[in-house]
């Protein structure tokens, strides 16, 4: 059902954890549906220098969280915003159709964290 890549990222997820005093935090999904993803960002010079996640959810939810964080780590904010759920799924050698929504959540979680970072910047710059 899952590709080897998915299983690898599920069993050995990259970037699990939290960041103390993060520059941005995004949380999407809800426990009702069985998936919550929470992303923590550390941003320097418009670049994601550190990223961590915590995820409640199925194997695909954990694996897409892991892969999505890997894909945007070290990237500029603009590059990170260009991440698509398809790119996440492809990088995992595909997902079963019923699990594609996990890749959507991963994309949204990263965008939500960046959104949070930007709104905080706005407050600071005021």
């Amino acid at each position: 059902m899952y590709s080897e890549k998915v299983m690898d990222h599920f069993m050995n997820p990259r970037n699990v954890g939290e960041i103390e005093n993060p520059d941005g935090v995004g949380q999407v999904g809800n426990a009702r549906c069985g998936d919550i993803m929470k992303i923590y960002l550390k941003i320097e010079d418009n670049r994601i220098v550190d990223i961590k996640f915590k995820t409640f959810g199925c194997g695909a939810a954990i694996a897409t969280s892991s892969m999505a964080t890997e894909l945007v780590k070290g990237k500029t904010i603009e590059e990170a915003l260009a991440l698509t759920n398809k790119a996440v799924a492809d990088a995992l050698d595909g997902l079963p159709p019923i699990k594609m929504h996990c890749s959507v959540l991963a994309e949204e979680a990263i965008k939500a964290a960046i959104e949070d970072y930007r709104s905080k910047q706005l407050v600071k710059s005021k």
Partner: protein, 395 residues
């Protein structure tokens, strides 16, 4: 992979060696069509007759009340649609429970679209239907009560005999989906006033793809598969000869030393449950503490999700299930767990371990050794657990 431990016997069982041996000749030597007049046909017919006797005996039915089918789902579809359509002159109301298998629930929903009315009775926190609720739900339009014998997810065994009595007193047919119960619990269709009963061989060490429907003599029911005159004109299709032979042998074996194997099973299960609850916090046992199938353990682990748990166990060679095998592929948490009052969140974190004849004490030890680490790992990844700890911290 160090070890393979199968604890998903409620999803399906292997075929027992003695069963396999009885089946074998009917594939390649005694392969006649039971409807044929010649010697090949007659030896096939004899084998079907023997299987029918064994099945009837196991349920305290008579042979002309047993109809072989293609499995539990077909039996459920046939029982409910067949009885509903045959009795619609009398009424259009059906009573069932909210924790039935989808083969019953979706069949009822289908009938709703066709103009039938269905009452889905609630269950208590243990998954029990209250017979009083059944009684109260009966109207003069009620033609069928369908309440499962034992639940496939949480293992709860219903007060079938009491429901049967109420049904009989009100002249309403009583169907029970006994797919999880047959071969595991004593059943007496006469004593329990059962009119229709579904069973499926692959849940008691028989082959997949064969089941039976018990139809009490005199019950009005339409055939569901039209065609040839098989099964006394009530279920068309060339008989699944080796499958039926296997079903017959398996049901006989299952009831031969039921008590002994059940007490062994229940002891292992109880040790498994106790061990898990001792080693892991924030766990709850689902289903009734006592009125449950001997092999069933169903537990919810807070803060984590069931599929992730299953995959992790699978990497350690342990085969388990989260809710029903049939509903994997769905995103919703189990309707059964919601019906017993679990929140969506906790329902998502459920694990079903169902033990069977090949499990050993070492298997239980192995699960108890492996599971706590897995739960911990997943909880450490879970924002819900972090939140929970955080909350505690600030309290």
């Amino acid at each position: 992979m160090e070890r393979r431990v199968y604890m998903d016997y409620a999803a399906t069982t292997y075929v027992k060696q003695e069963v396999m041996e009885e089946m074998m000749p009917y594939f390649t030597e005694k392969y006649g069509n039971p409807s044929s007049v010649h010697s090949f046909g007659r030896e096939a017919r004899k084998a079907v007759d023997l299987a029918r006797e064994r099945t009837a005996k196991a349920l305290n039915a008579s042979t002309d009340e047993i109809y072989f089918t293609g499995g539990g789902s077909e039996s459920d579809n046939w029982a409910i649609k067949g009885a509903a359509l045959a009795n619609k002159q009398k009424g259009n109301h059906i009573i069932t429970s909210s924790i039935e298998h989808h083969a019953v629930l979706y069949t009822c929903q289908y009938l709703e679209k066709m103009g039938f009315e269905v009452t889905y009775l609630p269950v208590d926190q243990y998954g029990l239907v209250n017979p009083e609720d059944v009684k109260k739900a009966i109207t003069d339009k009620t033609i069928l009560i369908s309440i499962m014998f034992a639940n496939n997810e949480i293992g709860t065994i219903q007060p079938v005999k009491e429901i049967g009595r109420i049904a009989r007193e009100h002249g309403v047919y009583f169907h029970t989906d006994a797919v999880q119960a047959v071969g595991h619990v004593p059943i007496d269709v006469k004593d329990m006033n059962i009119d229709l009963l579904s069973l499926s061989a692959h849940k008691f060490y028989g082959p997949k793809g064969v089941g039976a429907l018990y139809v009490r003599k005199g019950v009005r029911i339409h055939p569901y598969l039209h065609g040839g005159a098989q099964e006394r004109n009530r279920r068309a299709g060339t008989e699944n000869l080796p499958g039926i032979v296997g079903l017959g042998k398996a049901i006989e074996l299952a009831y031969e030393n039921l008590e002994e194997s059940n007490s062994k099973l229940a002891a292992m299960r109880d040790r498994l449950i106790a061990g898990i609850m001792e080693k892991i916090d924030h766990v709850r046992l689902n289903g009734h503490p006592v009125k449950r199938l001997p092999g069933n353990a169903n537990l919810s682990f807070e803060f984590i999700e069931g599929e992730a748990l299953l995959l992790s166990l699978d990497m350690k060679g342990i085969a388990a299930s989260s809710g029903s095998a049939c509903t994997s592929g769905s995103l919703d948490p189990s309707h059964v767990l919601l019906a017993i009052g679990l929140t969506h969140e906790i329902a998502h974190g459920s694990l079903r371990l169902t033990l069977g004849d090949d499990n050993t004490d070492e298997d239980v030890d192995y699960v108890l050794e492996v599971l706590p680490g897995i739960v911990e790992r997943l909880r450490n990844m879970s924002p819900l657990f972090a939140q929970h700890k955080g909350e505690k911290y600030y309290v």
